[in-house]
């Protein structure tokens, strides 16, 4: 029976091979097949679940992620060879992916994976015929500086970025777009570097600057602004799921102000990314850690945490560590390490043992796994006080006095209790009174100072290292083998400074130049900020199931030069925004948008809707409401009533802040994980309960409602209307408003549409003074005509705020 089946297969195989030679004639495959780019993604997606790195679930003693070894793709098992380099006929794999026998077809129906398409089959075919060469997975090989390619259009640009982009464009028979006009360019680069729009004055200055280095000078000015750090920090805060609450159960306040502020300063001070990594992973382990290093180590505390109550502490502890390791994986490795919690990774060569060896670095925290009742000031030990040396000295002194005073009172009370003599008793009572007064005074002083000193939750090791076990099926209470701290075997080896590996060793491992991932993951995310999509689109996953880079050599060029520069972010960013690739116009033909909607080929400038924070900050900035105060307590700008009430279990009600604070940049908005601010989440901000490396951007009616009707946004429109009407030259009003909001000047048609709108609105409001009154609420106007005019212009500004070009970075 077996033999017959095999015979049938052979016959089938031959005919299939023949058949496919014919059909491949229809498939134009001019380009060479690359294992990494073309073959590996197919094998990973369709085959690795059963024939991949996970030994436990491996079927038929076959793994296709490796060529050699007893289970490798070239192996012969029960007389069957999976892949015979150069021979389709002798390669079982080829038969299995092309047969029409449902019993033999791979992937099998029960795997719920799509069969290979004709194109994919053809890729495999070419690859096997070419000798089925395997290469190491691209992301696990350290980046090498690529050669600058030759291009036809030699005069376009000499910059390496541009050369690498142009080489690909030319291979696709595409041309780069022309440079964006100066107004678009200053708007784009100001938003990209500071998260804010340029002012009219800045636009004017830039337009008037005809020097060749005008643009570079602009970039330098922007990089030097404080708002640069705020803007860069915002992306980082998504990545590390920064928030102001626990995120579970009672969702208590959790204080990470100092961490957020440090991130902003680190970007502004251009701290090397290597130190940026070291401080966050292991800042607490420096011999004499600075405040910054300690604060940064709070990275390890940003996970969700439950408050003490019904949960099982050991389960909470496990979940916390898991969350910490997952964050490290996403943030610094660009890998889904958490997939190996329950079993070996299905796609990447990361074993379950590797996972728990990583876990062991984070398993030794000296902190309770749950927060207590309502943590005072949002702080859960361990935390440190960050005041100035004088403040700290003073506090120590006051604490000493407080303790003394406390002791004295206790002693006096004892004396008083044991005293029988009435006279003496009275005297003791007197003394107790004055001691209590002193106590209260010292306590008051101490508490006041105490409140002034900012504090930060930090990472701290226990003295004795907690043993780490593999957890079978990822269950916190089912312990397997004991493991020691180590990095995954398939990556460069860990160097230990002492006998036991430490988190500092891990941090050093991340930033050693041989680490193939750290720099790539970081530069890819920065690139994504400036083009809307990374060179590897899946910026959270550079592993086997991630997408392959659109421009692998460019990614390597950026990574290598980043490390060579001492991991300096500002020069990297500058290199990107000075490129001609970045400066291209985003105007194109609709067909081009349809062909390459995400601009992966980079044949134009990228155009994408801005993030929630940028949209709100833009409205505040252009209306003049924005308050530029940096750092400190998170603020609560008004939001619709009842949202917290609808979810809370501790009777919390949202109380908006008042005064200037509510006009601070959105970065400082208080983030309750259980109910984040709707102005943000409606525009795709993540909830911040998981690490997010990229936001998606969908266009929804709720967004339209938000931008049309939100009360603060309307207030901003009113503000700008007021400013517009104050301009002396009434004929320039439209231009003033339009330019303030869009950075552009209206053309004839736009001017006509808008002036028609404003006059019809003015007429309408003149006829309905009550409506005008409602719009003008809080505005110091009495004249009905003026009110109608004011109302009309408010609606006009509201219109401008809702233009697609206003909310889009072009």
């Amino acid at each position: 029976m077996f033999v017959i089946r095999k015979l049938i297969r052979i016959v089938f195989r031959v005919s299939l091979v023949g058949g496919c030679i014919i059909c491949s004639a229809f498939v134009a495959h001019a380009k060479e097949v690359s294992f990494g780019r073309d073959v590996f993604p197919i094998l990973s997606d369709r085959c690795f679940a059963c024939h991949g790195p996970d030994a436990h679930d491996r079927k038929a003693k076959l793994r296709l992620d490796l060529a050699d070894g007893p289970d490798g793709a070239y192996r012969t098992h029960d007389d069957i060879t999976a892949i015979k380099p150069g021979s389709l006929e002798d390669s079982e794999l080829w038969y299995r992916i092309t047969t029409d026998d449902p019993d033999d077809l791979m992937p099998p129906a029960k795997a719920h994976k799509k069969p290979l398409t004709k194109e994919e089959q053809s890729v495999i075919k070419q690859w096997i015929e070419a000798g089925a060469p395997y290469e190491r997975f691209w992301a696990f090989v350290p980046p090498k500086k690529p050669k600058t390619p030759k291009v036809k259009n030699d005069s376009w640009s000499k910059l390496p970025i541009d050369r690498l982009v142009l080489a690909k464009l030319e291979s696709l028979n595409l041309q780069p777009a022309k440079e964006a006009d100066k107004r678009t360019l200053i708007r784009r680069v100001t938003f990209d570097l500071t998260g804010l729009p340029p002012t009219r004055e800045e636009i004017k200055e830039f337009l008037a600057d005809n020097r060749p280095q005008a643009y570079e000078a602009l970039v330098d000015r922007l990089l030097a602004r404080k708002q640069y750090g705020e803007h860069m920090a915002r992306y980082w805060l998504d990545l590390v799921r920064f928030a102001d609450t626990n995120g579970m159960h009672k969702d208590f306040y959790r204080n990470f102000i100092a961490y957020r502020d440090w991130i902003i300063r680190a970007f502004n001070e251009n701290l090397g990314y290597d130190d940026f990594v070291r401080y966050q992973l292991a800042g607490d382990l420096f011999p004499e850690p600075t405040n910054d290093q300690l604060v940064a180590s709070g990275f390890n505390r940003l996970h969700l945490i439950i408050d003490r109550g019904t949960a099982l502490p050991e389960e909470s502890f496990f979940k916390n560590v898991l969350d910490r390791v997952t964050a490290t994986g996403t943030t610094f490795m660009g890998m889904t390490v958490q997939c190996a919690t329950c079993h070996d990774h299905k796609y990447d060569p990361l074993t379950q043992k590797d996972f728990y060896s990583l876990f062991a670095f984070f398993n030794n925290i000296d902190a309770a796994p749950e927060t207590g009742g309502r943590p005072k000031n949002g702080l859960q030990p361990p935390f440190v006080a960050l005041g100035s040396p004088e403040q700290k000295k003073m506090l120590a002194l006051l604490n000493e006095q407080f303790a003394e005073s406390d002791q004295a009172i206790k002693a006096k009370k004892k004396e008083l209790a044991s005293e029988k003599d009435a006279e003496k008793k009275k005297a003791h009572s007197q003394e107790l009174k004055s001691l209590t007064a002193k106590y209260n005074e010292v306590k008051g002083k101490r508490d006041r100072l105490d409140r002034e000193i900012p504090r930060a939750m930090v990472m701290k090791e226990r003295k004795e290292v907690r043993p780490t076990h593999v957890r079978i099926r990822g269950e916190y209470d089912v312990k397997g083998d004991l493991v020691t701290r180590n990095t995954p075997e398939f990556l460069p080896a860990l160097k230990k400074a002492g006998e036991n590996a430490s988190r500092m060793d891990l941090a050093e491992w991340f930033v050693q130049p041989e680490n193939p991932l750290t720099a790539r993951v970081a530069v890819n995310r920065f690139w994504q900020q400036f083009f809307g999509v990374g060179l590897v689109k899946t910026s959270e996953d550079l592993g086997a199931q991630g997408e392959v880079p659109s421009h692998p050599e460019l990614l390597d060029h950026l990574s290598v030069s980043f490390v060579e520069s001492g991991w300096k972010i500002k020069p990297l960013v500058k290199q990107i925004v000075l490129s001609r690739t970045y400066r291209q116009s985003s105007v194109s033909k609709t067909e081009q948008f349809a062909k390459d909607p995400e601009n992966r080929n980079l044949a134009r400038g990228s155009r994408f809707r801005m993030d929630a924070e940028m949209i709100r900050d833009q409205i505040l900035a252009t209306s003049g409401l924005l308050v530029n105060a940096m750092y400190g307590k998170s603020v609560k700008p008004p939001q619709p009533d009842g949202l917290w009430k609808s979810v809370t279990m501790i009777g919390e009600r949202f109380k908006p802040d008042s005064g200037d604070a509510i006009y601070r940049r959105s970065l400082y908005t208080y983030w309750k994980r259980g109910m984040p601010p709707p102005q943000m989440t409606i525009l795709n901000a993540p909830v911040r309960d998981a690490c997010i490396a990229r936001r998606e951007r969908t266009n929804t009616p709720s967004q339209a409602l938000l931008l049309l009707n939100e009360a603060e946004y309307l207030k901003a429109a009113r503000e700008l209307a007021g400013k517009t009407l104050q301009t002396k030259d009434s004929s320039g009003r439209l231009d003033f408003a339009y330019e303030t909001v869009t950075s552009k000047l209206p053309d004839e048609k736009e001017r006509k549409v808008l002036s028609d709108l404003v006059s019809s609105l003015e007429k309408n409001y003149a006829e309905q003074p009550a409506l005008a009154d409602a719009v003008c609420q809080g505005v110091d106007l009495t004249d009905a005509k003026k009110k109608a005019q004011f109302a009309a212009w408010t609606v006009l500004i509201n219109t401008l705020y809702n233009l697609d070009i206003t909310k889009t970075r072009e």
Binding site: H112, H249, I306, T310, L312, C339, T538, G543, Q545, G546, V587, S588, K589, T590, F593, A594, D596, P597, E598, R600, R607, R609, P640, D641, S646, V647, T648, M649, R673, P676, P678, T681, V687, D689, A690, E696, T698, N699, T700, P701, S702, Q703, A704, L705, L708, N709, E750, V753, L754, N764, A774, V775, Q777, A791, V795, N802, L803, D804, I805, K807
Partner: protein, 478 residues
């Protein structure tokens, strides 16, 4: 003027066409890659849909199955005796009752057989008992989570680990809209409830879209202010002003579309128009003034209070009529660690009549046939009591190993019990239904293969039912 929505549809169907016409997944198709995955779940599967929409009545806090659905008549003989070790098997319990004695607290409530089918119902649910023949009572639900937060998160998103899309967002993503003027997925949290103890929190993630595009996230209707956030025009901007403004806006946006070429501008125009339509469709939906008195009476007196469970049940019916795909009610206040009988009476009073009315009302309108109604909490409660146990008063701790709930309508067999627990309502002994199995079954009833409704993220084909085994509970499907 062309209707922007129609234009959007044309654009989308063109994309779909390109994808399905064998062009493969070239770089050009990246943006629409995801919708392809969603479509595959629908078109590839041979499952005939039995339901078009779901109304999910989520009893947050975990009601006691021992008192509500899982009738154990012999327990009264074991009052305050220790739960046998052969039953509890040393299985984990919460931090509240760990190491404590486990003394049986029989239910103080009476059960009786109801309807033609004679299924057992608690006296706590007199109104619902009248619909007994429509209910499929499942006694073998089980989950992994022992605490509310992970319990609700896994019930609503399929995973205890936050960050995954919610049930409703999966459906919106997988099945698309039936209605062009309303959201696909609406959440209706009760604004008040009777059991005012241990009121567990809700989280935006319970109706969030996780890694799915956020247009699929649930729209939570508010009881204060606009039912949908930012729905109303600001004061001084009436519908006429808004219209003229939107017209000018569309003219400019269209001009920019012609100049810039980016089709996303078309989407902006379409969404602004949809927003305008929602400004009338939502108030029309929430306005119950035209409901006849007998209908209102059916839901009980609370229906007149905004934010009541009763009002939300009525709104759910109105949404079913308007083809909202997934409506999820959250009624909190079921976490009864002490004084359970008292709180239970109150909570049941909140939900009994309105829930029964919802079923009747749907039935009267012929909507129950293709509307699946589900009633369940995040887990169950222990047979052993907490606090001072008397015949009349006791509390119960969290219990994930078995709990009861019911399904009705939308292709479900009515008048039946499904799954069995042991004599102590402690472990499932027959036909276990994990939360994942319920999810798989819900999708199945809507014609979706849970194995095929996927979204690629973080290297995995993500599914509502996750990577662990799950099955459709075929025995309860009509």
């Amino acid at each position: 003027m062309k209707d922007p929505i129609t234009e959007l549809d044309v654009l989308q169907s063109r994309r779909t066409f390109l994808l399905n016409s064998g062009m493969g997944l070239g770089t050009a198709a990246f943006a629409s890659l995801f919708s392809k995955h969603a479509l595959a779940a629908k078109s590839d599967s041979a499952i005939k849909p039995k339901a078009k929409r779901i109304i999910f009545l989520f009893m947050a806090g975990a009601p006691s199955q021992v008192d509500l659905f899982d009738h154990k008549p012999d327990l009264h003989k074991l009052f305050k005796t220790e739960l046998p070790k052969s039953i509890s098997k040393g299985q984990r319990v919460t931090a509240m009752t760990r190491g404590k004695q486990q003394l049986v607290a029989p239910s103080t409530f009476k059960f009786a057989q109801k309807g033609k089918s004679g299924i057992w119902m608690s006296e706590l649910l007199p109104h619902l008992s009248a619909s007994a023949d429509d209910l499929c009572l499942v006694h073998s639900f089980n989950t992994n989570a022992i605490n509310h937060d992970p319990g609700k998160t896994s019930f609503c998103t399929g995973s205890e680990t936050p960050g995954k899309p919610s049930m409703g967002s999966w459906l919106s993503y997988g099945l698309g809209s039936l209605n062009k003027d309303l959201p696909d997925f609406v959440v209706l949290p009760s604004a008040f409830w009777s059991g005012r103890v241990n009121v567990q929190a809700l989280y935006a993630r319970l109706w969030g879209s996780g890694f799915l595009p956020s247009k699929h996230q649930g729209t939570s209707f508010q009881t204060v202010g606009d039912p949908v956030l930012f729905l109303s025009n600001p004061k001084g901007i009436d519908r006429k002003v808004r219209r003229s403004m939107l017209d000018s806006l569309a003219t400019l946006n269209r001009k920019h579309l012609a100049e810039i070429g980016d089709p996303e501008i078309q989407t902006t125009i379409a969404q602004q128009e949809m927003a305008f339509r929602m400004q009338s469709s939502v108030p029309e939906l929430t306005d119950i003034s035209k409901e006849p008195k007998e209908v209102l009476d059916m839901y009980g007196p609370e229906v007149n209070k905004l934010g009541s469970y009763a009002r939300n049940c009525l709104l759910a019916r109105r949404m079913a009529e308007r083809d909202v795909r997934f409506v999820q009610l959250f009624h909190r206040g079921w976490d009864h660690h002490s004084s359970l009988p008292k709180h239970m009476r109150g909570q049941c009073k909140d939900v009994d009549q309105p829930t029964a009315a919802l079923l009747k009302d749907l039935k009267l309108r012929g909507l129950l046939d293709d509307t699946l109604v589900v009633f369940v909490g995040e887990f169950g409660r222990t047979v052993y009591g907490q606090g001072n146990i008397t015949r009349e008063n006791y509390g119960r701790d969290h219990h994930p190993r078995c709990f009861s709930g019911w399904l009705a309508g939308g292709g479900i067999k009515g008048g039946m019990h499904y799954g069995k627990t042991d004599d102590f309502s402690y472990n499932v002994v027959e036909n276990p239904v994990h939360v994942r199995d319920l999810h798989a079954t819900m999708l199945h009833l809507l014609g979706v293969d849970h194995q095929k409704l996927i979204f690629p993220f973080q290297g995995l084909d993500q599914k509502l039912t996750g990577v662990e085994k799950s099955h459709v509970v075929r025995d309860i499907i009509a």
